[in-house]
């Protein structure tokens, strides 16, 4: 699973209809400002450290065994965002842009291979050696570590990357615990340019959706 950072005003498409019952997760996301959870002191860098203006604009998960799009979420276009920002700017808290909360159905944990696509834009400065390290935990236990080198990013570009992601083997006990303890599955995504940390995003996950 790749979590990506999306701002409060993210729109999302309707949950995809998956023909296979095994993989029909329902996803809802809630913006950080309504989550009631301030995690501002937990971040390893500040929003201002993102001097390359890297912005994640789309995230999609496909079940590779059926080709079905399970989940897709995209940021509104820049013009739509500007209109809303004028009205609601005061409601954003410091962590709003860096935290996303996901709710999936239990079926999600039964997936084996998914294609996780991330789309991001880059500001006017070229970016060399862009690298992502992402870790997923249930409570204190590391479920998966994911390390991907994007390499060079062209200035003012929009880039996508689909990675084939294999779910870690989860025991039945662990699956049950994850379903019964919403939001105790968490992830940290660290983004580096030339080995310098420029972004740190967080997400948490529930698997009790639709119940």
């Amino acid at each position: 699973m790749t979590a990506t950072n999306l701002c409060c005003r993210t729109e999302w498409s309707k949950p995809a209809n998956a023909p296979c019952e095994r993989s029909s997760p329902v996803v809802q996301t809630r913006p950080a400002s309504s989550s009631g959870k301030c995690r501002g002191d937990d971040y390893l860098c500040k929003p201002e450290d993102n001097i390359y203006n890297i912005d994640f604009t789309r995230f999609k998960i496909r079940d590779l065994e059926t080709g079905t799009v399970l989940f897709e979420i995209a940021k509104p276009s820049a013009s739509e965002q500007d209109e809303e920002d004028e009205d609601d700017n005061s409601e954003l808290d410091a962590s709003a842009g860096r935290f996303v909360r996901y709710q999936f159905t239990p079926a999600f944990l039964r997936l084996r291979t998914v294609g996780a696509t991330v789309e991001f834009t880059v500001g006017e400065k070229p970016v060399s050696n862009f690298r992502m390290i992402e870790r997923h935990y249930f409570r204190d236990r590391l479920l998966k570590n994911f390390d991907f080198d994007f390499g060079f990013c062209i200035p003012s570009s929009r880039n996508t990357c689909e990675h084939i992601y294999e779910f870690p083997q989860l025991s039945e006990d662990l699956i049950r615990l994850m379903v019964e303890n919403p939001y105790e599955t968490r992830s940290d995504s660290f983004y580096f340019v030339d080995n310098k940390l420029i972004m740190h995003n967080k997400a948490d996950y529930a698997y009790n959706g639709g119940q």
Partner: protein, 203 residues
């Protein structure tokens, strides 16, 4: 169980192994890192999307890179597709390092000027130090258009016989409405990539 093993479909076989045989997963498919280049509008994104069983509708011009893992029965191709607009082509060589093969897509029905530009770009790639020893799959796309030039014409115009002599390349016609032919072309490329695996490594 016999029904599963009778089928050529590898993923179904994988599922049967996992579910019934408890012998562990079959050995993973080899992966190859490829770069996919060509002028804007040649059809790179559309071809790769359809190879990944994704719709080619709503595709917009690539303005950076698009990395996709394209699965085949006997290999996974990690393709880094690069936008082909004028202002992006100058960055292509930043992505050549680490490539094991090249896919070059061209619009068979493009204008004379664009075809000349494509030829120049292909020649540059063929001669680039980081690509010159790699296998090339050259796809003469948009064959469905009335103005499409034939493969023979393209081979001649691009001077592939003299210029690509000694290199491993495949030139194939294609269009979005015949994906089976596209997959066959990629299979040929995978054969070339596999051959390479057995060569002694050189500095």
């Amino acid at each position: 169980m016999s029904a599963c093993f009778g089928k050529a479909e590898r993923s179904l076989k994988d599922q049967c192994f996992r579910a019934l045989c408890c012998k562990g997963p079959p050995p993973p498919r080899p992966e190859y890192d490829l770069v996919c280049i060509g002028l804007t509008g040649s059809g790179k994104t559309s071809l790769l999307s359809q190879l990944c069983s994704e719709s080619a509708e709503n595709i917009v011009s690539t303005t950076g890179f698009s990395i996709k893992a394209v699965p085949f029965q006997n290999a996974i191709l990690n393709v880094k597709e690069l936008g082909g607009a004028d202002n992006i082509r100058k960055y292509w060589s930043r992505y050549y390092q680490g490539s094991q093969g090249v896919i070059f897509v061209l619009d068979s029905a493009s204008s004379e000027d664009d075809l000349e530009t494509a030829r120049n770009e292909l020649h540059s790639a063929l001669q680039h130090p980081q690509l010159c020893t790699l296998p090339f799959l050259i796809l003469a796309n948009h064959q469905d258009k009335p103005a499409a030039r034939s493969v023979q014409e393209i081979k001649k115009y691009f001077e592939l016989e003299p210029l690509a002599r000694g290199k491993r390349w495949i030139l194939k016609p294609c269009s979005l409405d015949d994906m089976e032919a596209v997959k066959d072309s990629f299979s040929l490329l995978i054969n070339l990539l596999e051959e390479r695996d057995f060569e002694p490594s050189r500095m």
